[in-house]
Symmetry: C2
Subunit: 354 residues, 2 copies
């Protein structure tokens, strides 16, 4: 397969971890005979420093021309500490998501067997957990009309959804369920909310085109309980923007390895893959940052293009680095492996698999 | 203190557990020289059977004349299985909350040391957890304007709050924090929602009248994480209706003893106290239901009227029943204590405390 990939290393540890993800993609090219072309651009604080804009037009153009974007991390404390800063690094990512029309956020919740003791949940509850949350990302109450009266005494936010907004992410979620454990749970509050009843109606209708997938429903308050009590029951969770924000953050901590998790944001013509961790400025340039989340975001990229065998190999190679203890000091403070050594180990494991 | 209490036993195990709560209140009267008057009325399925209405006018009148309502449980499977049922037992409670103007729902999250192994969380995380959620109950998106267009393709719900709605529950929450660990956390999404920004503004202003209470803020997605990672950090959580629905249900499961939890709903002139568990119809009449949640709802009633010493004694007596293993079979399947024996033990412990 030929793919044009935009690389946006961003700030802090972004460049260091993204470099390891690229190593692994290059190993996949080698092992499977693919041809990926990489072009790099600035975003975030470094882009502000160079151009005054956290998302320069040239970066946006590059992303729009690419098949997908591999994103590092964003943010620099010099902006956090300046309340007068008019542009902020984070605006670069928000604007990029908007310009690329990335309407679906995909957050896998998984457990790494060697790290299971880090989980806040008991071992028997967290063992075998492997689900993925499909969160609608561009609609709902976060983007609905906001009002405040002149006296400043009454404020409101509107949660609105259209059939079309629900349909497009529902198709993505059903397709994912088809390739997984064939179970989709729609999380809503249909006993109370009109918008939730529309979600239920539209998703039920679309489910008829995916007869191999079992569809069930859960109210959001119950879902917040089940993620703690019975997380192994879930396969694919589909939900609207705000419920997805709450549940994907709740889900991210149950495995105990939040620093290793990746996410994808998908649009009609583009897609962006990134670790869920931040730019960790204190570790910048020290070659100690953990590259696994970035490498797993590359695995999600491969899956997005249907390269399931390739993605599986990347995941297995990550597992091997964890099993063999080839990890950065955050996972084992006795370990002396650097960011690039971990990346090398995983890339070599991919190459040697044949 | 003289109190007029309305007793609404309701359905299923409601009458059995409520009877134990009344035993304990009578023991408190005895031990402290109070004078409580009890009057009973029907609500729920039993009220439908007798009058056709899940909340007959005579029941509502009784509740409005009372200082507080002690509620059992509601619900009967014969209505759940009848999709054509026009009246449902649950409507009795919803209507009662509305008619009494109960705008604040209070849900303590606590851990019982003898039952800590039931928690889905690891012992070191759940030990010492003791917080309470103040959830606004009559405003926000659950009660805002609902719309659907004629084609049925666009639906919306409005989340609206006024200063007044925020102020009255904020005062309750600050007063509670003053009597506890003096920390109040407002949970909102003020980085995105206009209504959350109004909450933040109003709660900050009211906080100036409670200088002994430390006020901090947490976004709802972060709160969903912290309830799992660091639940012992919380004291009083204050939040709007839907966030409170999600977080109080999430909070209810972390202790592992959801069947033992109570709640209060507070209005301008009235208050209602109940276990959070349901009517458990399978156990009805068998004298096996666990009365502890109902007894703890009576402790919340005492606290509501400022009878802190009395409430503490009820709680200690409940702890003693757990420590001594005087519990119903749901907590220990080798136990042969009945509902009424557990109630007797706790009531006697209260009486003997002098
Ligand atoms: Mg979030
Ligand atoms: Mg609920």
């Amino acid at each position: 397969m030929n793919l044009k990939l935009a690389l946006l290393p961003g700030d802090g540890i972004g460049p260091e971890v993204l470099a390891q993800a690229v190593k692994c993609l290059q190993a996949v090219e080698e092992a499977f005979g693919h041809n990926f072309v990489y072009r790099e651009a600035v975003v975030g604080a470094i882009a502000i420093d160079k151009t005054g804009d956290p998302l320069p037009q040239s970066t946006l153009d590059l992303c729009q021309e690419a098949d997908a974007v591999l994103f590092g991390a964003i943010g620099d404390p010099k902006f956090d500490n300046d309340p007068n800063a008019k542009v902020r690094p984070e605006h670069g990512l928000l604007k990029l998501r908007k310009e690329l029309g990335l309407y679906a956020n995909i957050r896998p919740v998984q457990v790494f067997p060697t790290l299971i003791d880090n989980s806040p949940l008991k071992k028997e509850i967290i063992t075998g957990v492997d689900f993925v949350i499909y969160r609608e990302l561009t609609g709902g109450i976060y983007f609905g009309e906001k009002k405040i009266n002149e006296a400043g005494t009454v404020a409101s936010d509107l949660c609105e959804y259209s059939e079309l907004e629900i349909e497009r992410i529902a198709h993505l979620a059903f397709k994912a369920a088809k390739n997984r454990k064939k179970r989709l749970t729609l999380v809503d509050k249909a006993n109370v909310l009109e918008s939730s009843r529309l979600w239920r109606k539209v998703v039920t209708k679309i489910g008829q085109s995916y007869p191999e997938v079992t569809l069930d429903f859960l109210f959001v308050d119950n879902a917040a309980m089940q993620i703690i009590l019975n997380p192994a029951l879930f396969d694919v969770i589909l939900t609207e923007n705000m419920f997805g924000d709450i549940l994907s953050d709740e889900g991210s901590v149950i495995g105990g390895s939040i620093g290793l998790l990746a996410s994808a944001s998908i649009g009609e013509n583009n897609a962006l893959f990134e670790p869920i961790h931040g730019s960790f400025p204190q570790a910048k340039g020290k070659d100690i940052a953990n590259p696994i989340a970035s490498i797993l975001s590359a695995a999600m990229l491969l899956e997005h293009f249907g390269l399931f065998e390739e993605a599986m190999l990347v995941r297995h190679s990550v597992d091997k680095s964890l099993e063999k203890g080839v990890v950065t000091p955050d996972l084992n403070n006795l370990s002396e492996y650097t960011t690039s050594q971990v990346g090398d180990f995983i890339a070599h494991t991919i190459e040697e698999s044949d």
